[in-house]
């Protein structure tokens, strides 16, 4: 029989139980969110996919945007998809713990597991639709093969890392204060211009560019794009600074989350 003591005895077992719980919550989330009706699980791809395609079309035909390299559509897919990582996920994690409180009666489920499961599902969904769309664009000759595939993959991971820390902060704040949930859309909206996704850093004049690059997300996105465009587009990023900034944000997010959970459990 399983006892709390046995669980504590081995760290590995604790890890095993927690990953099992998170996986159970991810699968549960898939059913509650996408349901078993109409296209069901396919929404997993379709929802973010429609977003990126829609933006690619809008930018191509209705926007005076100019990019130094390639078409607007291929710029859109490697740019707008990065927004979905932090913006959609923020929407998912706000009040995630509060909404799932009844399940806390099960001692194996810890509050932070709700947060992890939603982040994992959202990241997987956005990544999968990006991959699908990118392959389709490759096939249609709109996009070309990445100049440096490894940098592109690492860039995506860096954006995901930033997004993880960012949504953890937003998630924790939303659990602590109802106001945050209500104004999160405002925050997300005003983050768009400084997200690095809309214009390449190369066309932003100095000294504005330097200030913008202080925001780690811009560096992450630029790094990701450098993997795709290679030398064809001038990109700006400072990896060392970005890693440190992400690390600090992650630690801050964790502390905030621990505090939020503690506050929630007590009231």
């Amino acid at each position: 029989m399983m006892t709390d003591k046995m669980l504590k005895n081995s760290l590995f077992r604790g890890f095993k139980v927690q990953s099992r719980v998170i996986w159970a919550l991810v699968l549960r989330e898939i059913i509650t969110r996408y349901g078993r009706e109409n296209i069901g699980i396919l929404w997993f791809f379709v929802e973010p996919l429609l977003f990126i395609v829609g933006i690619a079309v809008l930018w191509t035909y209705f926007d005076s945007r100019t990019v130094s390299t390639g078409t607007v559509a291929e710029f859109a897919i490697v740019s707008y998809s990065t927004i979905l990582l932090w913006r959609n996920t923020t929407g998912r994690v706000t009040k995630a713990i509060d909404a799932n409180r009844p399940l806390l009666h099960h001692r194996l489920i810890r509050p932070i597991d709700f947060f992890y499961s939603r982040v994992i599902l959202e990241f997987a969904s956005v990544t999968a639709s990006f991959l699908l769309l990118f392959l389709a664009f490759l096939f249609l000759d709109i996009s070309h093969y990445p100049a440096d595939l490894l940098s592109m993959i690492l860039g995506w991971i860096m954006i995901a890392w930033f997004s993880f820390a960012f949504v953890m902060i937003m998630g924790a704040l939303s659990e602590m204060n109802d106001v945050i949930e209500k104004i999160s859309h405002v925050i997300l909206y005003f983050m768009l211009p400084i997200s690095g996704a809309f214009v390449p850093a190369s066309i932003i004049p100095e000294p504005l560019r330097d200030y913008l690059l202080l925001f780690p997300l811009v560096d992450c996105v630029e790094y990701f794009r450098s993997g795709y465009y290679g030398d064809a587009m001038k990109t700006y990023y400072d990896l060392e600074y970005t890693i440190i900034a992400n690390l600090v944000m992650t630690l801050f997010g964790y502390l905030l989350m621990v505090k939020a959970i503690r506050k929630m459990e007590i009231s």
Partner: protein, 221 residues
Amino acid sequence: MIRLENVTKYYPIHHGRSHRMILNDVNFEIKPGEKWGILGRNGAGKSTMIRLISGAEKQNTGKIHRSMSISWPLAFGDAFQSSLTGRDNTRLICRVYGVDFEKAIGFVEEFSELGAYMREPISNYSSGMSARLAFAISMIIEFDCYLIDEVIAVGDYRFVEKCEYELFQKRKDRAMIMVSHNAEFISKHCQKIAVLDEGHLSVFDDVEEGNEFYLSLRMKQ
């Protein structure tokens, strides 16, 4: 063993400007196999105590030691997801606790007698139906200690008998904590009694003594 040491719990009221004391410096210990009844009037803090023991909530001060595995409050529909079907809830619980779903679902379907409703969301259930499902799901995971909130007196007489057989016959070696305002139910199934009144927990090794104390409280009311 489960041990509550100087556990205090209060809830904020008036937008946090003040608070209401629910449990005041409560000490309580339960050893393997013991059957405890906790009596108290409505609003005395019985359910809060259960939630603290189950870990769904945290105490403000004091410590709770747990060296037994503890169930969620039995027959308590709130521990599930109302937007999911009975089947999917069973699946979720199986996955969380690492139990084989195919084996469990057979038992749940048979015991709960829900038939086609197993594929309906719980939000469409009557309260009796969700209690039946909740109890059935509770029986697929084995615990050292079972928490029982407000009697399993749901459903018809035959179903209550079925539940009592599962719990008090098949699992008579386990520890149990039953919470109720019904002294009769508690006397029938418990060997020890604790009475909760105005934040204080009085512990009695003798059922009779505990019952008398509880009755005297009700007289005062």
